[in-house]
Amino acid sequence: MDETIKKQLQKTAVSIRMGVLTGTFHAKSGHPGGSLSIADLLTYLYFAKMNVDPRNPDMPDRDRLVLSKGHTAPALYAALAERGFFDRKELESLRHIGAMLQGHPCIQIPGVDMSSGSLGQGISAACGMALAGKLDAAPYHVYAILGDGEIEEGQVWEAAMFAAHYHLDNLTAIVDNNGLQIDGRITEVCSPEPIDEKFRAFGWYVIVLDDAHDFDKIEAAFNEAETIVDKPVAIIQKSIKGKGVSFMENQVGWHGTAPNAEQYEQGMNELRAALAELEG
């Protein structure tokens, strides 16, 4: 990847991480851990990959993204705000009464392609969109982001079967494999592993992205995905829950806890420092 572009993406990702902290801090609730682990992925998709237009969010041939792990809405909202779908100020009223930004993604929000949040459901909707795209011979691609804990839901595997059966090669599912869910390590709660072999067995082409925070590797994974025909692609991205905020990294407790004022300041200072370093 071009170094200038990479640096710009890295800066955008930091900005999105700041948006995650801002949103959850002001909401006094929400899910920062899994939001931070997908910040780089969303940055890449919305700023380097997807064909979307903030001035025309319902453009028929736009690429679509379904955040199946809907509880990480703070990251999606921050990315959409950063991309210009709505004012960044909105992040400060996340989860407030009367606010546009609901606790989980809601289709009425500009740029949000599907309401989601009840785990296991978004991937099915993404299949439906991809199927519609096939029927219309439309040029768009559909991305679905799932949690590694989320794939414990049986519906995910119903959808996996469906996508392979109907050869939905315009669908890419990204499994955010940060290894942690609310009750602990995914391997200890009720292990969904081996994730790659499961998707392969269900007829998907599988790419293991071993560092979800390295834009060169992210780009390589999506470039490889694009070459696959006749099959849906699953990208299993190895990520760090809480990535970018030192005290949140790999801590299961930050799955669904908002930072207090002190933690917010500390986190923001770390991110400001990261940004300064990138700009320096």
Binding site: P60, R64, V66, C106, I107, Q108, D113, M114, S115, S116, G117, S118, G120, Q121, G122, I123, S124, A125, A126, C127, G128, M129, A130, L131, A132, G133, L135, D136, G154, Q155, E158, A159, M161, F162, H165, Y166
Partner: protein
């Protein structure tokens, strides 16, 4: 009614989809390995490229339908009522209802008239479940003519619609030449001043037959067909409550949460009068021939007649 033509509304559903397909190019049909039974197989045969079998995976089917609708298609998702409203309830609520997507759910084999398959497949709870979802339209057609008209009305309406069809052949009451379906509007099939019988689906024919028997005995019963349970035709119900003072509701569904509850909710607000609910009581069904089961559970003209007479102290 031996000379009346009969047809199961599930069959009308399959035929309606096929008849409407040309006029509505965005119409697509999903099924969950029950196309032969839900009669979407009729559509599949005529339009194989617009039919998608999801296999025995109703949760995913509802989600796929949501995605299709979000991308501009008009999907009809079909399976038995038990699995459409029961198994997939939460997906219907969160992936279809909450985003208010233009998905039509064609639920067949509703009620105890499923017959021999027994309690696991006799869904007496679907109306109750579906009417709790904000923005969901719930339609229960009474015969072939109404079922086909309902299919077209659902297509012309932008939003989620749950349609309830039966397995058992139902007498064709309506004349296709004159019948007019209006979403959310009940139909007064017979005027009357002593009492009102409000019926839906398969029970409409029984209500009409009961009213005829009652008339012969000097009881003037009004009969209202409520094909749209949500939104309910409140004006018609309230007017009937005011003018006849008593209501008997009849449905092939649990007395908890269905037509009877909807009517009771309505009159409680506008004109409190006694509402007597005929339906499946708080119990599961069981195996047996559909016609015998209907009789056993009191879903017959004879039982309606008795209940009405008792209500009037006669």
């Amino acid at each position: 009614m031996a000379d009346v033509k009969k047809k199961a509304t599930r069959e009308s559903y399959g035929e309606a989809l096929t008849e409407l397909a040309e006029q509505y190019p965005e119409l697509v049909v999903l099924d969950a390995d029950l196309a032969a039974a839900t009669k979407t197989g009729i559509f599949k045969k005529a339009y194989p490229d617009r039919f998608f079998d999801c296999g025995i995976a109703e949760a995913n089917m509802m989600g796929v339908a949501a995605g299709l609708a979000a991308a501009g298609k008009i999907p009809f998702a079909s399976t038995f009522a038990m699995f459409a409203a029961g198994r997939a309830y939460e997906i219907v609520r969160n992936s279809i209802g909450y985003p208010h997507l233009n998905v039509k759910i064609g639920a067949t084999h509703a009620g105890i008239s499923v017959g021999e398959d027994g309690a696991t497949h006799q869904c007496n709870e679907d109306i109750a479940l579906m009417r709790t979802i904000p923005g969901m339209t719930v339609i229960v057609p009474s015969d072939d003519v109404e079922a086909k008209a309902a299919g077209r009305a659902a297509l012309d309406f932008n939003g989620p619609v749950y349609m309830r069809f039966g397995r058992l052949a139902a007498p064709i009451l309506n004349d296709p030449a004159t019948y007019r379906f209006e979403l959310g509007k009940g139909i007064t099939l017979r005027e009357g001043k002593d009492i009102t019988i409000v019926a839906t689906g398969l029970m409409v024919a029984e209500a009409v037959a009961a009213a005829e028997t009652l008339a012969a005995e000097g009881i003037d019963a009004r009969v209202i067909n409520i094909h749209t349970i949500k939104p309910l035709d409140k004006a018609l119900i309230c007017n009937a409550a005011q003018e006849t003072g008593r209501i008997v509701t009849v449905e092939e569904h649990s007395i908890i949460g269905g037509l009877g509850s909807a009517v009771a909710d309505c009159v409680t607000e506008c004109c409190p009068v006694p509402v007597i609910k005929i339906g499946v009581n708080d119990e599961f069904g069981h195996s047996g021939p559909a016609v015998d089961l209907l009789r056993q559970f009191g879903l017959s003209a004879e039982h309606i007649t008795e209940v009405v007479k008792k209500a009037l102290g006669k």
